[in-house]
């Protein structure tokens, strides 16, 4: 593959790819996301390959192992294009029938399609399934259309056109302005406006500047970043390069998990291919802009997802957080201006550049724009990756998309943000998904892990679980965090065992105040947030266990 040296060459190459592709040619897209992979979809993929060979259909049918489709609950998922017929819980044994009946015969196999457990209604096509129908899949929908390892697939759906537009039709300031006007807020937890952060890094003194993709995703119950990054790595990379151009950075870092081999593999392939095509490295697309990316791996500790700790880790040191009196956007890696955003934030950038800030700001609520990816888990019928516009109510997410609570149980609470988040009771379920609304209720969105809890779950036990998690993950640098969490865990465990004592709740409140005030990083500062939110809404569960 020769390098692409200009926007015109890029468009020509894209046309070349599209001209060789027949949109009516059948394509079998098999989900190879983490969930489906664990369910043995590799055997389904090989079965398809064998069957296609056996029926000598190699030239007439494409097979594509894709990233996560989102509907993990019903995996392995198989979608037959161009009709978008969706089969759930597919097994290798179903494969010969799918090929002869559906791929060749164009007939739907009734027993493999989705049936709504409530209404009994059947849905043969992916967009008709309630789980998908009630979402707005601006980002994750590309996952089903591409092979994550193929840069040509990404180019075929318009990939890197935003980069080309930014580099050749916009000045860095204009790119920055567009992201600011779109009011893209960081998806990693804080919800800080990305454009303002970029601006700080851009204006900070110093020649050498860095940009980072935080793909750490250490929060239990959060798996949406992995879904995008593994399923569509180029979309994140494209966003990163555009950001680097706006900020004036020539060196980027990707920080991600070591324990998901597929993720690392797809990122490595994406970087190598982008470089080969001239979309990364020296003189990108002939624009004169140079940008390089290095991959760094987290090796299994939660706090290394915290921005300042992550930067220490990239420097080769222990990932201990440090004070942020000076922001990392001014003084980050090796004391140089460093802009960090998470996977989902970067993945939003190409569409803002392509479709404009006005389009983007038209989606969502007044202060939370665009869509948000949610990892829906816990006591819920449809576990999976969900994408909805901000403003969607939690009730819609739980019932219309999530299919409600299994086994006829009642909903007790919805917990956001993992071990540093908060829970809200069923009575507040009509709250819209919105950074500020949820923060006001004590349950900030965090990265987007949404844990649904049914009536059988003890809130005290859930809080004990989160404190136990944090007690193990505290890096130990700040004594109030290290010891405070341990003491809170001790008291909550006592209460959870039904042996609570008079004054325990007050003591918990006291310790949480000190831990929050005297710890350096967000881990210690917000460690007691779940506890405080549960004391706010479920205090009676604590009191019932105190003698």
């Amino acid at each position: 593959m020769p390098r692409i040296n200009s926007p015109a060459e890029l468009e020509e190459y894209r046309k070349g790819i599209l001209s060789k592709r027949d949109p009516d040619k059948p394509c079998i897209a098999i989900c190879a996301g983490t969930g489906c992979l664990a369910l043995g979809n590799d055997r389904v993929i090989s079965a398809f390959e064998e069957e296609i060979k056996k029926q000598s259909l190699g030239a007439k049918v494409d097979i594509r192992a894709t990233g996560c489709h989102g509907f993990c609950e019903k995996g392995p998922i198989v979608v037959i294009y161009p009709e978008e017929i969706c089969y759930i819980e597919a097994t290798p044994g179903d494969v010969p029938e799918i090929v002869s009946q559906t791929v060749v015969g164009k007939k739907v196999i009734d027993r493999l399609i989705y049936t709504d457990p409530g209404t009994g209604e059947k849905a043969a096509h992916q967009p008709e399934i309630p789980f998908y129908k009630n979402q707005m899949r601006n980002i994750i929908s590309s996952n089903t259309k591409i092979d994550p390892k193929s840069i040509d697939d990404y180019l075929a759906i318009g990939g890197y056109s935003a980069l080309s537009k930014a580099l050749f039709k916009m000045k860095p300031e204009q790119v920055l302005e567009e992201v600011k006007k779109a009011n893209l807020r960081g998806r990693g937890g804080g919800g800080f406006p990305a454009g303002l952060k970029w601006e700080t890094a851009r204006n900070a003194p110093g020649e050498e500047k860095y940009v980072i993709v935080n793909g750490h995703e250490g929060e239990p119950g959060a798996f949406m970043d992995r879904a995008i990054f593994t399923g569509n790595p180029h979309s994140v990379l494209e966003g990163l390069i555009i950001g680097a151009y706006a900020i004036g950075s020539r060196q980027g870092f990707i920080y991600t998990r070591h324990d998901t081999h597929q993720l690392k593999n797809h990122i490595d392939i994406a970087l190598a291919k982008a470089e080969e095509y001239g979309l990364l490295g020296k003189n990108i697309l002939g624009s004169g802009f140079d940008f390089h990316v290095e991959v760094h791996l987290d090796i299994g500790i939660f706090v290394s997802g915290e921005s300042s700790a992550l930067m220490r880790s990239i420097e080769g040191k222990n990932p201990e957080p440090r004070p942020k009196y000076i922001r990392t956007s001014v003084s980050g890696i090796w004391e140089r201006p460093t802009n960090l955003n998470n996977v989902e934030t970067w993945a939003n950038v190409p569409q803002i550049i392509n479709k404009g800030s006005q389009w983007y700001a038209g989606i969502g609520t007044e202060r939370s724009k665009g869509t948000k990816l949610i990892s829906l888990s816990g006591n819920i019928v449809n576990t999976g990756v969900v994408e909805v516009p901000f403003g969607t109510t939690l009730r819609e997410i739980v019932y219309d998309i999530g299919g409600g609570i299994p086994n006829g149980k009642k909903l007790k609470a919805v917990h956001f943000g993992g071990p540093m988040g908060g829970s809200i009771p069923e009575s507040l379920l009509d709250t819209p998904l919105d950074f500020d609304e949820l923060a006001k209720l004590g349950a900030p969105i965090g990265a987007g892990g949404m844990l649904v809890l049914d009536e059988d779950v003890s809130m005290v036990d859930v809080i004990r679980y989160f404190l136990d998690f944090l007690a193990n993950e505290s890096c130990g640098k700040c004594v109030p965090c290290r010891e405070g969490i341990r003491q809170m865990l001790k008291i909550v465990t006592r209460i959870s065992d039904g042996k609570g004592r008079e004054g325990d709740i007050e003591r918990l409140e006291e310790i949480s105040e000190v831990t929050g005030a005297a710890s350096l990083c967000a881990l210690g500062k917000t460690a007691s947030d779940p506890l405080l939110s549960s004391l706010r809404y479920f205090r009676d569960e604590y009191e019932a266990n105190i003698k």
């Binding site: 983490t34 969930g35 369910l39 993990c72 798996f223 090796i299 299994g300 888990s377 779950v457």
Partner: protein
């Protein structure tokens, strides 16, 4: 540091120590392999972590001799290497068993009963998280979300997922791993 260690009897501890030493003799990486890894990452900003990770991934644990070699070649004090090697849970300073059992204890698995599942696994193999059985058959780890919440509660053995598993079925599953 690792839960449950204090509960082991002196005999088991001694047995573990001996088994560990045997394993060390067998599994210590030769210097050539270590040097190759070091050379590959030379000049990288965080080469130390990358080198340790690669040794861990090839050898499944970090023998003392390997750490000394890294210290010598990278000119990094051994104390600093040990600081990093003990900080991250991924690194093991003791040998690992033939089969690695991972019980997901993420939040979703937790509310779906991962606690009872972990108890059952611990009862059956007699070791706690972070430990290796004296016969080196199993190592047990807990993972905070393996990203497959739809399958929870689950255990992963040598990379194979056993999903939506009830405590009563664990014994059957473990039989297949010698």
């Amino acid at each position: 540091m690792k839960a449950g260690r204090a509960l082991l009897s002196p005999e088991v501890k001694e047995q573990k120590r001996i088994m560990g030493r045997k394993q060390i003799r067998k599994a210590t990486m030769d210097n050539d392999r270590i040097d190759r890894i070091i050379d590959k990452h030379r000049g990288e900003a965080s080469s130390l972590i990358q080198v340790l990770m690669e040794i861990q991934s090839e050898n499944h644990w970090l023998p003392k001799e390997a750490l000394e070699r890294v210290s010598e070649k990278l000119q990094v004090p051994l104390t600093r290497i040990q600081q990093i090697a003990t900080f991250y849970k991924t690194f093991s300073l003791v040998p690992k068993g033939r089969h690695e059992i991972h019980v997901c204890t993420g939040s979703s698995c937790h509310v779906r009963g991962a606690g009872r599942l972990l108890d059952t696994v611990q009862d059956l193999i007699g070791i706690g998280p972070g430990e290796t059985s004296p016969d080196l058959r199993f190592s047990l780890e807990t993972g905070n979300c393996l990203g497959c919440c739809a399958l929870g509660p689950e255990i992963v053995i040598d990379g194979k997922h056993h999903s939506k598993i009830a405590p009563g079925n664990v014994e059957d599953v473990l039989k297949d791993y010698d």
